[in-house]
């Protein structure tokens, strides 16, 4: 297997970005936040062609930022994202159409004042994938592909339901004929019965079009369903990476285990009283991450060592990687 998408030591720092007023205020002695946020720090990841990698973590863990770095929406502060050997961003500008994005909220990601047919065809026309005269037929083709009736091409986004809008957003991304698809929480804002439709569509399309996908979600059951491999993020770092069933079966990082334990499960027994294995405390502020391993203040396995040195990502059996000093104590022995 060759690496189709490869990230090597990618970091993204959001600076304090002070306005003129704040600069003056800070000179005069006011307390102005001057620290910067390391949204993504030193992430390495390779994805093979046709593979779906699920990216999970709690809010603020940097999963969306990482998705946007791969999508070329944001330039990385350091490191390069390569797709099939060529960089996604050149001179701070996106240099490829081979990676496209599906956003979380289909009510916000479609231009409310543009007919949906135009929205789908606009990118392909700009990049010579379709001629202006054939725009309608081209958009119609992708409309059908995502299960929408092409007679709706002349309508505006407000005339569609959430699920239909997400189909339109998917059609827009696919019409660019990408090799790589970034899905940023594509079903999070949809109703349960609609979620299933979109997930099925997604499974069908990634298979038929041989798409390489990064699927970002906070919903573990969705990620488990669609992904080949899963990456768990905490405070800007990937703490665990591996084949989906392996990781779910036997988490190697204490955070992964705790995260899985927090997810409410369907209770079908009258007398069972569910206990949640809750994680103590909250995610620390990314403005002042803890010393050593970022997870150590909440970690039941943390030792003195963890507060001093941050662990490196280590490869463990079954093509998995984990960023933890004590992963062997977490892994269930077989």
């Amino acid at each position: 297997m060759t690496d189709f998408v490869s990230l090597e030591n990618i970091s993204r720092v959001f600076g304090p970005n002070l306005t003129t007023g704040e600069k003056i205020a800070s000179k005069l002695g006011a307390t102005v936040e001057t620290r910067s946020i390391h949204a993504v720090s030193n992430v390495s990841l390779s994805v093979s062609k046709g593979e779906t990698v699920g990216l999970v973590g709690e809010s603020g863990c940097g999963k969306s930022t990482l998705g946007r770095l791969v999508a070329g929406i944001l330039p990385p502060s350091s490191g390069t994202v390569l797709i099939d050997g060529s960089p996604v961003i050149k001179d701070g500008v996106k240099a490829t159409t081979r990676v496209q994005t599906v956003f979380q909220d289909p009510f916000a990601s479609l231009d409310p004042r543009m007919k949906v047919g135009e929205t789908v065809a606009e990118g392909p026309i700009a990049h010579g994938l379709a001629k202006k005269s054939e725009a309608n037929a081209y958009a119609a083709k992708w409309f059908e592909r995502v299960g929408l009736d092409p007679v709706w091409l002349d309508r505006y986004p407000h005339q569609f339901s959430g699920g239909q809008r997400q189909r339109i957003a998917i059609a827009r991304a696919l019409a660019m004929q990408p090799d790589v698809l970034i899905c940023d929480e594509p079903v999070a804002s949809l109703d349960v019965s609609i979620q299933a439709q979109i997930i099925n569509l997604f499974l069908e399309l990634t298979r038929d079009l041989e798409l390489t996908t990064i699927f970002i979600s906070h919903d573990l059951s969705v990620v488990q369903h669609v992904s080949d491999r899963i990456a768990i993020m905490y405070l800007g770092q990937i703490v665990e990476l591996g084949p989906v069933d392996e990781v779910f079966e036997n988490p190697a990082h204490p955070y992964t285990a705790a995260l899985f334990g927090s997810v409410p499960k369907l209770v079908l027994d009258d007398h069972e009283l569910v206990r949640f294995d809750t994680i103590e405390g909250e995610v620390p502020s990314p403005l002042s991450p803890p010393s050593g391993c970022f997870y150590h203040p909440r970690c039941p396995l943390a030792g003195e060592h963890c507060a001093i040195t941050g662990p490196e990502m280590t490869t463990i059996p079954n093509s998995r990687s984990v960023t933890c000093h004590n992963y062997q104590r977490q892994l269930k022995q077989k």
Binding site: S59, P264, L266, V283
Partner: protein, 327 residues
């Protein structure tokens, strides 16, 4: 038989908009016992939030409760004047919202807001009020509660803010709390902490709760009884575990089956076809019929609620089987 604190009969709330009448809540009935947690499940636009607002008398123009009765501890809320309702709201019945920012005043400290909330319904000394606020804040899991009384809402994280909102809702030990998707915006680890605490609080204080959510798993781990809403009506109700194990309404069954956990990873999910209907133009008869694979000519008529023991459903041809006789 436990004591019933809230009884809702044939509640119907309509919105009279420029495009027509939106039948947001249609003929909804249920009872709630002391300390009981009921899950109210449905998708967006199913009327679950409007049901909650109707119970609090918070339905705004152009909406109106058209018919039905709400009885809270032998008091008919539907016949109260606005001023009387205001006295009940917050003391006997209160609400927790999805977004706690909307309920907290950004320019007042938490302690001040809690003291004001107490003073709205009873006279206590400042000392006693502060003690009560501190006590509740620590009960909902806020560390060093007394010191945090002087903090402003923006100094709390999202999860902590929701805890504060819950503490405020509990201030007067209301008989009923309506919680509208209070953990939806929170991370799973925080959600787990809060669910855990809510269950303990309900048992401890005897407060009954209506937990509105779209997430079957959350509700199943919290509520002892469940009502599933579709297109403004309750299509199925009953004890949570029994109902989820053996759903009778095709919609409930479809919802359950569409969950990723119900299908082998990587294979297509069992989806419900079609989209949720607009409440403006509901088809005649059963509103779920257009999406239902079992629909027959009979479904052109609206099915009545069929009651079987502690369960009920609105369907001519229910799926599943009769429940085993409960012990």
């Amino acid at each position: 038989m436990t004591e019933t604190v809230l009884s809702v009969k044939n509640l119907t709330t309509h919105f009279f908009t420029r495009s027509g009448v939106v039948k947001a809540v249609d003929n909804v009935s249920f009872d709630l016992a002391k300390g009981e947690i009921m899950g109210l499940v449905g998708e967006s636009g199913s009327g679950k939030t409007v049901t909650g607002f109707s119970l609090l008398g918070l339905v705004d123009e152009p909406g109106r409760i058209v018919s039905g009765s709400i009885t809270l501890k032998d008091k008919a809320l539907t016949s109260l004047s606005n001023a009387e309702l205001r006295r009940w709201r917050g003391r006997e019945i209160s609400m927790i919202f999805q977004d706690p920012i909307a309920t907290l005043n950004p320019v007042l400290t938490i302690g001040r807001q809690m003291r004001l909330a107490i003073a709205a319904h009873e006279r206590t000394s400042a000392r006693a009020a502060e003690d009560r606020a501190t006590d509740l804040l620590s009960k909902v899991g806020i560390p060093s509660a007394r010191a945090r009384l002087d903090a402003y809402p923006h100094e709390f994280s999202g999860g902590m803010r929701q805890r504060v909102a819950i503490a405020i809702a509990l201030l007067h030990r209301p008989s009923v709390i309506i919680a509208d998707e209070p953990t939806t915006a929170l991370d799973v680890s925080i959600q787990a902490q809060i669910l855990q605490q809510m269950r303990v609080l309900a048992a401890e204080t005897g407060t009954a709760m209506i937990w509105i959510s779209h997430d079957l798993a959350v509700v199943s781990s919290l509520a002892s009884k469940l009502a599933v809403m579709y297109a403004g009506r309750i299509v199925e109700q009953g004890p949570t575990a029994t109902l989820l194990r053996n759903p009778r309404h095709p919609y409930t069954a479809g919802l359950m089956n569409s969950l990723p956990a119900m299908t082998k990873p990587g294979t297509p999910l069992k989806q419900i076809p079609g989209t949720t209907p607009s409440l403006l133009s509901l088809p005649p008869g059963c509103p779920f019929a257009p999406r239902c694979q079992r629909a027959t000519a009979q479904c052109q008529h609206d099915p009545e609620l069929t009651i079987h023991g502690d369960r009920g459903w609105r369907c001519f041809d229910p799926v599943g089987h009769m429940d085993e006789v409960s012990s």
